[in-house]
Symmetry: C2
Subunit: 229 residues, 2 copies
Amino acid sequence: MLNSYSSADKALLAVDCIIFGFDNQGLKILLIKRDFEPEKGKWSLIGGFLKRDEVLDNAATRILNTYTGLNDIYMEQLYAYSEIDRDPVERTISVSYYALINIENHNAELIKNYHAQWFSITDAPNLIFDHNEMVEHAIRRLRYRTSIKPIGFELLPEKFTMRQLLELYEAILSKELDKRNFISKINSLEILNKLDEKDMGSSRKGSYLYTFNKEKYEEKLLNDFVLNL
Amino acid sequence: MLNSYSSADKALLAVDCIIFGFDNQGLKILLIKRDFEPEKGKWSLIGGFLKRDEVLDNAATRILNTYTGLNDIYMEQLYAYSEIDRDPVERTISVSYYALINIENHNAELIKNYHAQWFSITDAPNLIFDHNEMVEHAIRRLRYRTSIKPIGFELLPEKFTMRQLLELYEAILSKELDKRNFISKINSLEILNKLDEKDMGSSRKGSYLYTFNKEKYEEKLLNDFVLNL
DNA sequence: ATTTATTAATGTAGATTTTACACTTAAAAC
DNA sequence: GTTTTAAGTGTAAAATCTACATTAATAAAT
């Protein structure tokens, strides 16, 4: 029984994660100040190496957990990057993943210890290696995702206002949306629960809070819907 | 200067290619009878290992060229598969690519020598490892691609009839399309040239032949269009 | 208590796009 | 010249999308 493909070349496999979060200042990504050579001290995506007994999806969730303390976050594989010298130390193929997290939920302590920091996607610093490219790629994918799945579950607090949801979509799509049309399109999906409660933080009148109705959402997903905003 | 990330585990990298072709019998994929262990004699995607000095895109085009003789074919990366024992011999991460080729253009000689064969996607044999999953994934991606880019350039002969184009789309989407609506949607894209020539093969009346107008097509791509069939 | 200021909430008409659908035409075969 | 076969063609109704402005609720200021 064969136990190696002896002539073939091996390489390191890395996983790099684009972690999106949202707050009232817009769409953000989590970056880390790299604490080892090469490029020590420069900003980077969070990442790590794939282990012998680990699949890529697990490496991605492990890395996310290490830096944020979060578990059970849905991550999606993006793309494999393989330029020969993308990492100057050793041939490394990196598979990128992205995640959407609620910016309020992560473990701030951990982030601080790792010198990680949230940056608005509009003014993030330059990143090492091909990480800038990965981020652009992830933003494109996220935009596409808005057209086939609702986003919000992950990026907003449990209770949110229509304005917050609108602003989230505006941040992701980086264009202005018509408020009335947006609300009626979202309502037509029938995946929100309107609460009796109001958020009084943003206006005299106060605005109703909503939650996502996960059951109806899952139901909708079966007949893959399209959302044209 | 650091020259290795010594603690990290290496793995083999494979590239597997889903090669789509189209003829009057429908959408097909090119498969090969594997001629080495393990799973020798079973059907498989065409694939190979990534070399030390090679990027993934190049490995994919090299593999395509080896088995079909074709050059300059656009290929798109699909996904990285990493289950621990997906290849029982050694830990191998496989990155899949798909290509669309004109089934008439490949080198039939080469295909024969490699014991490769075209199979209709509706009755392809069971494949080794996780290759069935890769094929399903590629078909989904191809369907998506039809909604954002015209297909046909690659899969049809240079001159083709509206019927052929319609049947190509029906095969990809695996649903019936209304002939009149299809034609008017395609025409509204303004990317076809209607020739004076007719194809007399399929009817008494004969049907006009068309070619793709590559320039207009490229032009359209800049303002990313959507095609709802 | 009244006024003022601020954001939330709401509906529609016109334009555009999508859908469903059936008859005529051209040419070859007989 | 009659028959056969697939090609070619248009429209009306339905659905969706877009643009757009007023009223409502409340707290703050007076």
